[in-house]
């Protein structure tokens, strides 16, 4: 799997992401500067990492979403290429129109930096095939604006089409108000676009991939992506 990680000023999780991708795929990851107008030849996966692009000025992800490289990402996605956005990356994908909805200020107003649990809703997608449907995984979050909101019609479509892939839950897998720490609509942690090739999620699976991190629950996502391309090859 050949992956490309986008780099915007103010992004700070790109190295963690590249490390997790290399661990899973064995390949070096291309780091792509925001001013580029094309992705490296043969890119299988584009990752928009977390951080604070442009200092979260205007709205989180708003300025990065209009960077030149995003036109290339839009073309890539339109051709069915896989795109993964994590944290600020999720915000950027929403702002760029690749995903519906918006990430609002956490309902509790506070920046939340801790481990949370999320439930894998289905395992038949490139982004979840490394897990079992219904599996509960532990992943870190670190965000102030992760409260996913969309209009009722959009939420209905997301649910009806099975596009909510990850949902906040208790360690036992119960989706309830207490585990929905940022107030997201329907406890949404991660969604895909209509075609299913663009995923945005707030938690950081790339920070739970090695024993030294204390948890390896994030590995499944990357292992699944790698499998996806092994199968295709």
């Amino acid at each position: 799997m050949k992956s490309a990680v986008l780099v915007f000023p103010g992004i700070n999780r790109e190295r963690d992401m590249a490390r997790a991708l290399k661990l899973a795929s064995g390949n070096e990851t291309a780091m792509v500067w925001h001013a580029e107008t094309a992705l490296p030849q043969g890119t299988d996966l584009v990752v928009v990492p977390g951080g604070f692009s442009y200092g979260d000025y205007l709205r989180c992800g708003a300025i990065a979403a209009r960077a030149p490289v995003m036109d290339a990402v839009r073309d890539f996605a339109a051709k069915g290429g896989l795109v993964l956005g994590v944290c600020n990356g999720f915000q950027i994908l929403c702002e760029s129109g690749l995903l519906p909805g918006v990430l609002m200020r956490n309902a509790g107003l506070k920046f939340v930096c801790r481990d949370v649990h999320m439930k894998v809703e289905r395992s038949d997608t490139p982004f979840t095939r490394g897990y079992n449907a219904g599996q509960v995984i532990r992943v870190p979050v670190a965000h102030g604006e992760g409260n996913y909101e969309a209009d009722e019609e959009t939420l209905k479509r997301l649910e009806g089409e099975g596009r909510v892939l990850y949902r906040y839950c208790s360690p036992e897998g119960v989706v309830d108000e207490a585990s929905n720490f940022n107030g997201a609509a329907h406890s949404i942690a991660g969604i895909v676009n209509e075609r299913g090739n663009v995923l945005g999620m707030m938690p950081h699976p790339e920070n739970h991939v090695e024993e030294i991190m204390g948890c390896t629950d994030g590995r499944g996502l990357f292992a699944g992506l790698v499998q996806q391309f092994e199968k295709a090859a």
């Binding site: 519906p100 200020r105 309902a107 107003l109 909101e149």
Partner: protein, 80 residues
């Protein structure tokens, strides 16, 4: 030419920052505050001298970047 673009949250969109400000004003004892919604104001200088052209440019700026029309409304004023 000077202009102002005001961006506000659509009604029905939860505004936790506005709520926090509302709470702070109440705790300061400022009387008669019913509710607060926070928005943004952009003061913009334009090279254009034609009002219609200026308005069109400001609308484009708001649609393309200044507002996220999923959750926000905007108002454009050319101040002359």
């Amino acid at each position: 030419m000077k202009a102002r673009v005001t961006v506000t949250l659509k009604s029905g969109i939860l505004d936790p920052q506005g709520k926090a400000i509302e709470g702070a004003l109440k705790s300061l004892g400022v009387d008669g505050i019913a509710s607060v919604r926070q928005g943004k104001v952009f003061d913009i200088e334009l090279a254009a001298t034609d009002k219609a052209k200026a308005e069109a440019a400001l609308k484009a700026a708001a649609d393309k970047l200044l507002a996220n029309t999923v959750i926000e409304n905007y108002r454009v004023e050319v101040l002359g």
